[in-house]
Amino acid sequence: MASTSSGDESLRLCMFDLRRGQTEGQELDKILFFHPADLDFSTQLSVIGLSEGLITFTRLFSPEAACEVIEAERHSHVFYEAEPDIWMVMVVEKNKETGAIWRIDALRRVLKEVHSLFVMFHGSIRALIEIEPTGGLTRSQLYPFITDYLSSKPFSPNLAHGIFILFPSFNTFNITNCQHFKSGLALKTAAVVNCSNLFVGKKLQLPNFRETLRERGTVKMLTLARDTALEVQSLVQVLDSCAGNLRCHSMVLFQDLLVSTTLSADDTVNLFTFAVMRLTSQALSSGASSWSYLRKGTGSSEVSSRSTSAPLDSLHSGSGGNHMHNVIRPLQNDKWTKGKDGFLMTDIWGLETGGSPDSAIPTVWLQQTQERVYLLAYQYKRLTLLLLMPTTSIVNGDLSVSAVKQQFIEDASLRVLKIEEKISRGWGGENAYHVKGYRYLVVDNDMEVSRASPSGKVTTLAKETLLALNKLREEVDVEKSRAKRQEKDLEICIRAKNNAWVIARVTRGKELYMALEKASDTLLDAADAVGTFSNRYCSGAFLMG
């Protein structure tokens, strides 16, 4: 019998390499990561065996796209081929009572996100395996990384939704109870009472239907007044030349909103995701309180070693293989603090005092330029600046990091102060992007940017409305995936059983999702409402037919 193991069945997440362990008796070698790590190997292998079997099976009929999802009565198995032959599979338990209703695409985006972040810090998995073919290095990096990601609070950066950081439990709060808390005040109370992260009562909280009006893997932008925009622009120019002749990349955030970036869209999304998880002012301040499920109460921020070390590693690479590798855990909680000079510090990459001073500075891998860069983060109040310098410049001895920091403080700190003030003055708070009467999500797929109603407002929607919208998004996902190469032009307005209108509009790489709960509205009223919204907030991108 397969999965008879005890423990939490609500989530299994694994990564395996189809090019490994193809001979009998060597099957364990396939496994690069498995959560929960303490699950017995036969169960781990049965999850991977089924996945592998179906990948092969589906390729018989669909050679160009293998298995993407298995829907069973009690579980969904979500597949993501992160790199050629390197697969991630997430098995989640369905449970209507606890609100475990999700969109497969939203779950797949979780897999995509964790892989993209991993690559940003460690490079591609295939490259790691090639460096060290036993897979020990890969496993020893993957286990803590993904475990840290899963134990993030809240379950992963709510990119577009600052309110979740203020009321982190909101999305984890029991749904049936949530129905009773219609007012924001009640929600706050609930949040305090039920302060927790993605592990609630040992259950992982995945992006369920309540998050249907948000899009993981996109960036949320701050809209700037013209004069502020000009000042930001000149700041960016200063940042560009912080390292003398070498061009630096930079990214500026206000709270968890993007102000500016000089990176490509993909790199921006990854770095933005990380910044919102760990670096922004809110991420730092939330770190003060401790509510990680995985942490064992003692105040140590170490996740228990059992759950982070790779159990297979000792098995395969002989004694002490694990300790041979310098394991870096970039997503570790509570590891960043703000220094006196305004720069953020961490010991994740080592202690600055030990060895070469620059070896302790965080580095990330940029996809666009295919180069490794130093990551410097500076924070002033709600403004966070990320400065990215090519590592080669430092290694060659052209520059020292401290010199760059000094240069930055001299050239930019005053501008930063002014910009922070200006933005703060014009900032409408977390409800700045609320549009009265609408609950919406706009996604621009080309730019990887989204904007949505504030979460606090979305919670006022009835559960039926959110479920209907979630289902509608699922239908649109199917249409989009079938259309793949062609541009899809689609408009769907549904009046649900509870009389709410749920609306989807897809056109030229842009998507709009909306819920309107005015019961008296007719179809034409609803269409007009979308038209008005589109004209006012989306430059008329979503003309209604």
């Binding site: 019998m1 397969a2 999965s3 009998e24 099957e27 036969s42 292998l45 049965s46 065996g49 089924l50 592998e52 079997g53 179906l54 092969t56 099976f57 589906t58 390729r59 018989l60 009929f61 669909s62 050679p63 160009e64 796209a65 293998a66 298995c67 993407e68 999802v69 298995i70 829907e71 069973a72 009565e73 009690r74 579980h75 209507k96 209703i101 039926e464 479920l467 209907a468 289902k471 509608l472 239908e475 249409e479 079938r482 899809k488 032009d489 689609l490 408009e491 769907i492 307005c493 549904i494 009046r495 649900a496 059983k497 009389n499 179809l523 034409l524 269409a527 209604m544 037919g545």
Partner: protein, 602 residues
């Protein structure tokens, strides 16, 4: 005839042994899946015969579902060696050969197919009569579409869909087999093949075992697999006791509908064998069901075919032949009299449309049973034991079927196996009534005239004259023959909830080719699935526009309306038109619906 020159028959659809594509090895692929599952020591697919036995029974060999560029090109590329068994019937031969002989494999003890059923040539959709659309109707998904032939040529339309099994010579090692757009498999829980839409079941034993392994692997984990998605493909599973049904499809159909199709396929099987088949598996897990289904391929292929043209397969409602109210009453009266004499159900039908029906007191007929029954009757024997899966899945009924002409037939169902002569007597009484009131010629006229047409919708004068609110003045001139109904209305379906019946308009330009019609039905199916989500309960209204259609749907406690418009149709005008359609249906409801006498109202 042995063909060794692969280039000489590029269009012959796959009679190859050899896999022309050396880069993949499907045979071992299939084995690999199993070994991947097996290597985990968690599943033990039962041994299966390595069926190399070729059992070719019919000359019916037209190309089937793929009907798309993919397979056309695949066939073109395929070299391989023809095995010669098929007699390599080319496309021209298809019609002749399968008209000449019923494409059903005969088993000992089976009755010969009724002469009327071989005359059956694609009773299709809601259109009737000898119009050109009728011919378009007959060209179906199953016709051959060569890459170099325009899909809409007249000659294509001549190639009527014919029941029977296709491509028996294929198996999972054939590229063409793997590229079929929609597969259906039925297997036993020990992995024995029972039915495959394409290919010889015996040769698919290994593949069947793989399917069984997947299902039981998930079952062993305390779960039940429903769906696997991969790119455009969906693999849908349905477990019915010891019988497993699987559909592998890359058609743009919803999971819900594909699962519904498997359910109907299972129902058709039960209709033929009753659910007592379960007991055979209880006694012997390795029980081989195929002989029991011998000779019924035409029934299944016809049912599968109906998934792409018959809205009853997803609306779960039946449709009536339009008839004057008085005539339908007259037929209803005699049918009810017959029922009073110990007949359980009496149905007078024309093709798949109901003229009238009656049932013994308290006996009610589910629309799905009606669908399966008429599908069975039109493709097989005329007096046979059948089972109505929705009525009583355990028991056989006896169906007496008599065709009055090519289209119109009566079905009398009874629980008594010795009732043949009584039923025959009932039929004579019914026939007398039909002759007396001249109903058969009215039926023929109704077929010729067809049903409701969007062009005939009476347009509110105000709507016509009122300056359109749309910025597009052309929408007014659109009201003309050749572009469907008023204001871009192309088609509609109206389902009466409490009558369990639907009425749909005839296809009008521009929805004329079978391909367009099938595509419209698929759009409706999606709309239907979207509106009837199980968890959320039915939505009330839906407006959906994409590149192909503007669709509107209303679900009310009394009726459901599905309407298709030009994608550029004006929203406000479309809503008004829908209201008029509903009004129009109500005006003619006595003619298009069977009222009152329906057993469902009891």
């Amino acid at each position: 005839m042995m063909t060794s020159d692969s280039s000489s028959s590029p269009s012959s659809s796959g009679t190859e042994f050899a896999d022309p594509n050396p880069s993949t090895d499907p045979g071992t692929n299939s084995e690999r899946v199993q070994s991947q599952l097996e290597s985990m020591n968690l599943s033990e697919p039962s041994e299966v015969s390595d069926g190399s036995h070729t059992d070719y029974g019919g000359g019916d060999d037209d190309d089937d579902d793929p009907a798309e560029e993919e397979v056309a090109s695949a066939n073109g590329n395929e070299g391989g060696v023809s095995n010669g068994l098929a007699g390599t019937s080319g496309d021209e031969e298809i019609e002749a050969s399968s008209r000449a002989e019923h494409p059903v494999e005969m088993e000992a003890g089976e009755e010969p197919p009724s002469p009327t059923s071989s005359g059956y040539d694609g009773e299709r959709g809601s259109s009737g009569g000898a119009t050109s659309t009728d011919k378009a109707d007959d060209a179906s998904e199953t016709e051959i579409r060569e890459a170099n032939v325009d899909g809409d040529t007249a000659s294509q339309h001549e190639a009527a869909w014919l029941p029977g099994k296709r491509h028996v010579d294929e198996d999972d090692a054939s590229v063409s087999w793997r590229k079929r757009k929609k597969h259906f498999f039925v297997l036993s829980n020990s992995g024995k093949p029972i039915y495959s839409r394409y290919g010889d079941e015996h040769k698919l034993a290994g593949f069947s075992a793989t399917l069984q392994a997947i299902i039981s692997f998930v079952e062993n984990g305390g779960d039940r697999v429903n769906l696997v998605k991969a790119g455009k493909h969906q693999v849908v599973f349905l477990v019915k006791g010891p019988i497993y049904l699987v559909c592998i499809s890359c058609t743009d159909e919803t999971y819900e509908y594909l699962r519904g199709q498997l359910d109907l396929l299972y129902g058709q099987m039960i209709l033929i064998l009753t659910k007592s088949i379960d007991r055979c598996f209880e006694k012997n897990a390795k029980f081989d069901m195929t002989p029991l289904l011998g000779g019924t391929e035409a029934v299944f292929s016809s049912l599968v075919h109906s998934f792409s043209w018959n809205p009853a397969t997803f609306l779960h409602a039946y449709t009536c032949l339009p008839l004057p109210y008085a005539l339908r009453q007259a037929t209803g009266t005699i049918l009810q009299e017959v029922c009073a004499s110990g007949v359980l159900f009496a149905l007078l039908m024309c093709r798949h449309k109901v003229i009238s029906l009656a049932g013994a007191q308290k006996a009610s007929l589910h629309p799905d049973d009606l669908l399966l029954l008429s599908n069975f009757v039109m493709t097989s024997e005329s007096f046979s034991p059948i089972c109505l899966p929705r009525y009583n899945a355990q028991a056989f009924l006896h169906a007496y079927v008599h065709f009055f002409d090519d289209d119109t037939y009566v079905m009398l169902l009874t629980t008594r196996s010795e009732a043949f002569y009584h039923l025959k007597d009932c039929r004579i009484r019914i026939e007398a009534v039909l002759l007396k009131s001249n109903i058969l010629s009215t039926v023929q006229r109704s077929i010729a005239e067809g049903g409701m047409r969007v062009e005939d919708l009476p347009i509110d004068r105000l709507l016509r004259k009122k300056p359109s609110s749309t910025p597009n003045p052309e929408s007014l001139t659109d009201v003309s023959v050749g572009t469907g109904g008023p204001f871009g209305l192309w088609h509609f379906m109206y389902r009466s909830i409490y009558l369990d019946q639907y009425v749909s308009s005839e296809f009008s330009p521009p929805v004329t080719s079978h391909r367009q019609q099938k595509s419209l039905y698929r759009a409706y199916q999606k709309l239907y699935a979207s509106m009837h989500d199980k968890g959320l309960g039915p939505h009330k209204t839906q407006y959906r526009r994409d590149e192909n259609y503007t669709l509107l749907c209303w679900v009310t406690p009394d009726f459901e309306l599905y309407a298709a418009f030009d994608p550029l149709a004006d929203k406000a005008m479309a809503i008004k038109i829908c209201n008029q359609v509903c009004q129009r249906v109500k005006d003619v409801e006595n003619e298009v619906f069977l009222q009152g006498a329906s057993p469902f109202s009891w």
